[in-house]
């Protein structure tokens, strides 16, 4: 269905590779039009909807973390650390430092693994989407109605039908772009899952510490109820998602503009996004530890 060619551009010393794939019948001149609205391939298994791009990126990010760690831990020594061991020890020590700033050293040891996993997964996830994009460009000629249906799957039949109509509509004045590679953290499903996982974990710590009765008594306080059930579960994932998603939208937008105009802003924005990616990983990890440490004592 698709034939593609890859275009690799090298920007100064940044080595940013931008791979864009096009259907062979898409002319270069078409690039630059309406590119910001990306679709993704979805599929349904029973009641569950999966997003293929998200699944690919979850697997890729997890594999990158895994391979990186295996490569770094091949020759561990208790003596003088060399090469990658220094980096790994620095990472573990840095993240452990975050954890230790909110609880005593002995308790902190229990949460270092969680913090390191969160930090590495989020920071690498944030950065993976910056390395390059993979898009396929679809026109009515090379796209089956089944494929369009997969792109359109949504919360309800009506919503799906509406999206299908939107895609068919888009075909009339331009091609439809389907994303296959992006930051996993630019997907709300991913950030909400990570956030809810750690928040539920913190609630579980609270239940285990104070007992079920006392735990539910907390929620008689409306402020507390609001904080635990609305504010934390919304702010924690949305902050990460918003930052990374906005970064990727701007990157797609800049990529869609003329190379002559957008190259320099793109380099600047990519550099800034690397910074934002690191900062957001740091913030997410830090807040997770703050929320957990709140549940470790009666202090709040």
């Amino acid at each position: 269905m698709l034939t593609a060619f890859a275009q690799i551009k090298r920007y100064n010393k940044e080595y940013v590779f931008l791979i864009e794939q096009y259907a062979c019948n898409t002319s270069i001149s078409e690039r630059g039009e309406h590119i910001v609205d990306h679709f993704t391939y979805r599929f349904q298994l029973g009641p569950l909807v999966f997003d293929l791009a998200t699944i690919i990126m979850i697997v890729v990010t997890a594999l990158v973390v895994f391979i990186m760690l295996v490569a770094m831990t091949r020759n561990l020594t208790a003596g003088v650390p060399r090469g990658t061991q220094n980096v790994l020890e620095w990472i573990v020590d840095f993240v452990a430092g975050i954890v230790r700033s909110f609880m005593d050293t002995k308790t902190a040891a229990r949460f270092v693994t969680l913090a390191v996993t969160l930090f590495l997964y989020i920071i690498l996830g944030n950065w993976l989407g910056l390395a390059f994009n993979v898009l396929t460009v679809h026109t009515p000629d090379n796209t089956s109605s089944e494929f369009i249906h997969q792109l359109a799957i949504s919360s309800s039949d009506q919503a799906t039908a509406a999206r299908e109509a939107k895609i068919m509509n888009a075909f009339e004045d331009h091609s439809v772009h389907v994303a296959w590679w992006k930051s996993p953290t630019a997907t709300a499903s991913v950030t909400f899952t990570l956030a809810l996982t750690v928040l539920l974990y913190s609630q579980w710590i609270d239940i285990r510490r104070v007992g079920v009765g006392k735990y539910f008594k907390h929620f008689l306080n409306p402020i507390h109820l609001l904080e635990e059930l609305v504010i934390k579960p919304l702010t924690l994932p949305l902050r990460l998602f918003g930052n990374i998603f906005a970064g990727e939208v701007l990157i797609s937008f800049l990529l869609s503009a003329s190379i002559f105009i957008s190259t320099i802003p793109l380099i600047i924005w990519l550099g800034y996004s690397v910074f934002v990616g690191a900062i957001q990983a740091y913030i997410f990890t830090t807040l997770t530890m703050v929320y957990i440490s709140q549940k470790l004592s009666d202090g709040h």
Binding site: T54, V65, E89, V116, T117, A159, A188, V190
Partner: protein, 167 residues
Amino acid sequence: MIDLGALTLEWGSMLFQFIAFLILLVIVRKFAVGPVTKIMETRRQNIASEIEAAEKNRKESEGFIAEQRRLLDEARQETKAILERASKQAQDEEARIKHEALEAAARIKAEATAEIARETEKAKEELRKQMAGLSVMLASKIIEKELDEATQKETIDQFLKQVGDRL
């Protein structure tokens, strides 16, 4: 799923992410945090024990140095005592030798004086003997020559004068 345009929550993706995250937690524990924590702890203990050993060695050396210093002080005092004693001995010896020398000198001088007196006495005795002999010789010569009384007297006076001068 929840679809709010850009923000979509697909339960399937979320389930997948949840499981992937749990697996990743296990992997990170097994490959990174576990071994690294262990190694850092081992290193911490190594360093702690080395510092402790160094501290112990330092204390030991301090003990040794104090001991050495004490021994050195003792030796120095001993040396001083020995020198003092030797010096005193030398002074005593000097005094004794000087005293002996003086004594010896006095004795030798006394002996010499006695010797001189004795020799003088001896010489006088000898002279007296010679004078007697000479007197006899003179007397016989005078007799032989039959000298007159005046000449005889004059000769004897002259002789006696000579003898008196010599004595």
